[in-house]
Amino acid sequence: MVDARQTADTTAALPSQLRRGVLEFCVLALLRDGERYAVELVQELGSKEGLVTSEGTLYPLLSRLRKEGVVDTTWRESAGGPPRRYYALTPAGQAVLDVFTGEWERFRDAVDGVLKT
């Protein structure tokens, strides 16, 4: 029996399931044009509607990307404040981003094609 509650659960879980797979590539994409201060990076991602529910959960993600070697971090002195951590894309990260971009376009077109028929 597929009741209304089950449908509601599926709908509620949908954004987070969609997000889970693509969020890390959005981080890489934001670093495409050069290194960025961690806080600015997190704030920019957080400002995109529907992409992030809690800005704080991005820090574990950033940490994972660093471990995977797709981003690199540097500490820089800031004027009148504590040192700031900057994130930059590594060559490996650039390669991953390129692959994702191609895959995403195919995937998006395929889903759009199915939804519109």
């Binding site: 806080v39 820090y59 993600l61 940490s63």
Partner: protein
């Protein structure tokens, strides 16, 4: 910086530290430092309570952040189950039911559990080995170590005198020390049991 910091921020960071307690130390310190830096950078100095709370809302629930980090590290969420609820009574009174073995099983369960940190486990093991049985190892009442000898002996003048000679015995200091030790052996395992219960529960 921290002296003038908003109390909501302090509370938030305390909650975050509590929520991430079961994470490896370095990861936890790094995560808390990241979030602290984020707050410092995004909440202007002297912001109103409302502004601070809005900023903290955006950062999100500490439990959610901790869950994201656990997921990243592949740590299974630690929900206390039957193992944990058996461990605590076994440590406390296990040795009273089956001498030594009962407590040892409790120690094995304690170290098998993913609910407690290594520090918690060391405390659970060392305070106090045997649990409440330790208190029973001390005699229920101090046995007098007083030794007396009595008899008769002949004095140089030829008269027979009886004598009693005693050595040792319970001094006041020794009695107080004994009572203190006995109390400590009762209070310490109980305190450990309460501590382990609270630590397990806090992670739920």
């Amino acid at each position: 910086m921290s002296a003038t910091r908003n109390r909501h921020i302090e509370e938030y960071l305390d909650d975050l530290r509590a929520a991430t307690r079961d994470l490896p130390r370095r990861r936890r310190d790094e995560l808390v430092a990241d979030i602290e830096e984020h707050i410092t950078a995004t909440v202007p100095f002297g912001a109103t309570d409302a502004d601070v709370l809005t900023a903290l809302d955006r950062i999100g629930d500490p439990d959610q952040i901790a869950a994201a980090e656990r997921e990243r590290l592949g740590i299974v969420p630690t929900t206390p189950g039957w193992l944990e609820w058996l461990t605590i009574p076994l440590l406390l009174v296990g040795a009273l039911i089956i001498p030594l073995v009962g407590w040892l099983v409790g120690v094995i369960f304690l170290w098998l559990s993913r609910c407690w940190s290594v520090r918690d486990k060391v405390i659970g093991t060392l305070v106090v080995p045997g649990g409440l049985a330790g208190a029973l190892l001390l005699p229920l009442y101090p046995v007098s170590v007083q030794t007396c000898s009595s008899g008769t002996k002949t004095s140089p003048s030829g008269r027979t005198v009886s004598f009693q000679h005693c050595t040792g015995g319970q001094s006041t200091v020794a009695t107080i020390a004994w009572i203190t030790l006995e109390l400590a052996l009762i209070v310490a395992p109980v305190a450990t049991a309460v501590y382990l219960t609270r630590r397990a529960r806090a992670l739920r």
